[in-house]
């Protein structure tokens, strides 16, 4: 009687061990797949839609990194798959609009910053105003500051007009960052966001008109050369 009983125990143990080993191997494989392909953590349907958007971005000549990044951010923040797809789609659309407003020579950082501003409610027409007086200067910092000001409760029109006015007066990146710090301080101290911005903007001296655009023979690539179909 002991022998069959012992055999059953050994067999059962072997089966359990095999199952555990198989499960561990599967888990390990899944982990490795996720390391190599972080989007694998999305559901099949969500992943398909994100990949479609990535392909569309490639075809449109848009950077795909911000889209992938938004998807990974959503995964890390345990967002619902549909929500992630919706946010990635928003990023795609805002990047497309930003490219249309800034032109093909815009850097990825500028595109990202402009896309962020568009998602905060800035219109493509307002972006185009900034671009008109761009004169070789990077729009990244003014756009980052503009988006933050709206996030902090500055009325959209006030924020947009103030940043545009400073930009046209030749304000530099340090001016914009200093403005942002001052406004943040004032808001923390109890000042209304819009008032804080207007007060601080008055403190920034005019830097004069922006430098004239360089001649066509300069090293700057012509926009038409880089334009995408």
């Amino acid at each position: 009687m002991m022998v069959p009983s012992l055999r059953r125990v050994v067999l059962s143990s072997l089966v359990l061990l095999s199952a555990a080993a198989a499960a561990a191997a599967a888990q390990d494989t899944t982990s490795r797949v996720r390391e190599l392909d972080p989007l694998a953590r999305l559901s099949e349907g969500a992943r398909y839609q994100v990949e479609l958007l990535l392909d569309s971005a490639k075809v449109s000549g848009l950077p795909t990194t911000p889209l992938e990044s938004k998807a990974l951010e959503g995964i890390a923040k345990r967002a619902d798959g549909r929500r992630i797809v919706a946010e990635v789609r928003k990023v795609f659309r805002s990047l497309r609009d930003a490219r249309a407003a800034l032109g093909p020579s815009a850097s990825t950082d500028e595109l990202n910053a402009a896309a962020g501003a568009l998602r905060m409610g800035i219109t493509p027409a307002e972006l185009a105003h900034l671009v008109k007086t761009r004169h070789e200067k990077q729009l990244t910092v003014p756009l980052v500051v503009l988006s933050d000001l709206i996030t902090r409760g500055v009325p959209r029109d006030t924020a947009s007009q103030t940043i545009l006015s400073l930009w046209q007066r030749g304000a530099a990146d340090d001016d914009f960052l200093g403005l942002w710090r001052g406004v943040e301080r004032d808001i923390v101290s109890g000042t209304a966001p819009g008032v804080a911005l207007l007060n601080r903007a008055r403190e920034i001296p005019s830097r004069g008109p922006p430098p004239a655009a360089p001649p066509a023979s300069s090293a700057r690539p012509d926009r038409s050369e880089n334009s995408n179909p």
Partner: protein
């Protein structure tokens, strides 16, 4: 500051050996801290025997947006006896900021035990108006203190004003504090013979009037003198990486009858250097002025010790919110090619993590360097990056001091602009 502060009267040197501290809970915008300090000290004073004692000091502090309450006390074990040492219970309440100004009310009850000959109690309350800005502020205050068991002192009227500012890692503070009180001297000498009031003292027309309650008969028959002292003091507190230094200096103005020569000027310094995340060397020394309202003489002191900090993991607590106010500073500085050093000052927490586009949104823990300094080297190229910070497994937040963006997932991200 959770570290031993053992002052010895006269020419003593004290040694502090061990201190433990822990945060019990941080939830929402409130925080409860408890700590326990233990140390050995030696004090001596001219004319009395040195006192050697073991001191045990438990403490607790609760803070939220509107008030702070704290209490600590100490028990000294010397010889075969346990003696209640210094003890303080404090309450501070604040109003909301209105145009950058807030009202503050502070109340304290304290017991001072320096040695068996110098011990008394005091109740005090002060109101302040404080104009605050992000990097500095100005305050004006007034209050009253009521010393107990100090036979020679009446109520003390206190007026104060001050200014503070932050310059990089340093906090500078200057204050002017004026004390006005009535000093009472005995009219009998040590041999219980009747004595005549000195010329500068005034014999009371109604003995005992305006004098603090006391069982000491000599007080009710004492001479009174109105005293006014003004202290001007400056303090610099500097924190840099693993070092914390506090330097104080001051000048006392007042009649020479009220201010002895050894209390005219004072200066002291204290420093803590974190050797590891749980071990710090602390040292201090200097000269302190007399506290005439508490019967404490001027003294020099020195201290040297090691601090062992224990940071246990809170049990059974699920953080529901990470208040950004826990993060006292957040900085990013270049640290070589393509590397940036992220530092954050966050006290009383167990873990700090970041994630961002530069980590593919994978959380990375910061490394604790000392009591509240957290640090990490990250590869960050020039450009714009998004970052989130998480404390004790709570919500992901945007670190303070950087522009922010809504993340689309009911939160915000910080935006780092890294220049070439």
């Amino acid at each position: 500051m959770i570290h031993p502060r053992l002052h010895a009267t006269a020419f003593a040197v004290s040694l502090a050996l061990l201190s433990t501290g822990q945060r019990v809970q941080a939830q929402g915008n409130s925080e409860l801290q408890t700590w326990l300090e233990a140390g050995a000290l030696t004090t001596s004073r001219s004319g009395s025997l040195p006192l050697n004692a073991l001191a045990l000091t438990p403490g607790a502090r609760y803070a939220n947006n509107r008030m702070t309450a704290s209490a600590n006390g100490s028990a000294w074990l010397g010889g075969q006896q346990v003696q209640l040492g210094n003890a303080v219970a404090a309450l501070e309440a604040f109003t909301p900021l209105l145009y950058g100004v807030r009202a503050e009310l502070m109340a304290n009850a304290s017991r001072l035990f320096q040695d068996p000959l110098v011990q008394n109690d005091q109740l005090d309350a002060e109101g302040r108006l404080h104009l605050m800005r992000q990097r500095g502020g100005v305050w004006l205050g007034s209050g009253v203190a009521r010393p107990l068991r100090v036979a020679a002192v009446s109520n003390v009227n206190v007026s104060s004003g001050g200014i503070w500012t932050r310059l990089g890692p340093a906090t500078l503070r200057g204050s002017v504090t004026s004390f006005f009180f009535t000093k009472v001297a005995s009219r009998t000498d040590t041999l219980e013979n009747a004595a005549v009031c000195p010329a500068h003292f005034v014999a009371p027309s109604n003995p005992g009037a305006n004098i603090m309650s006391s069982t000491d008969q000599s007080v009710s028959t004492g001479c009174r003198q109105q005293s006014r002292l003004t202290d001007v003091e400056g303090t610099v507190h500097w924190e840099h990486r693993l070092m914390e230094v506090t330097v104080r200096g001051g000048q006392r103005f007042g009649d020479k009858l009220d201010v002895t020569s050894e209390s005219r000027q004072w200066a002291s310094a204290q420093a803590a250097i974190w050797i590891t995340s749980q071990l710090a060397a602390v040292a201090g020394g200097g000269h302190e002025p007399a506290q005439p309202t508490r019967g404490l003489p001027a003294r020099s002191f020195g201290s040297l010790g090691l601090m062992l900090a224990y940071w246990p993991i809170p049990r059974g607590i699920v953080p529901v919110e990470t208040p950004a106010s826990l993060v006292h500073a957040f900085e990013i500085r270049p640290a070589g090619t393509s590397l940036q050093r992220l530092t954050a000052r966050i006290g009383g927490v167990e873990t700090v993590e970041i994630m961002g586009d530069f980590t593919d949104w994978a959380p990375i823990p910061l490394i604790r360097r000392g009591r509240d300094l957290w640090e990490l080297l990250v590869p960050l190229n020039a450009g714009v990056h998004q970052i989130n910070l998480r404390i004790d497994g709570g919500q992901w937040i945007a670190p303070p001091g950087v522009p922010t963006l809504k993340d689309g997932f009911n939160g915000e991200v910080g935006v780092l602009v890294v220049r070439q």
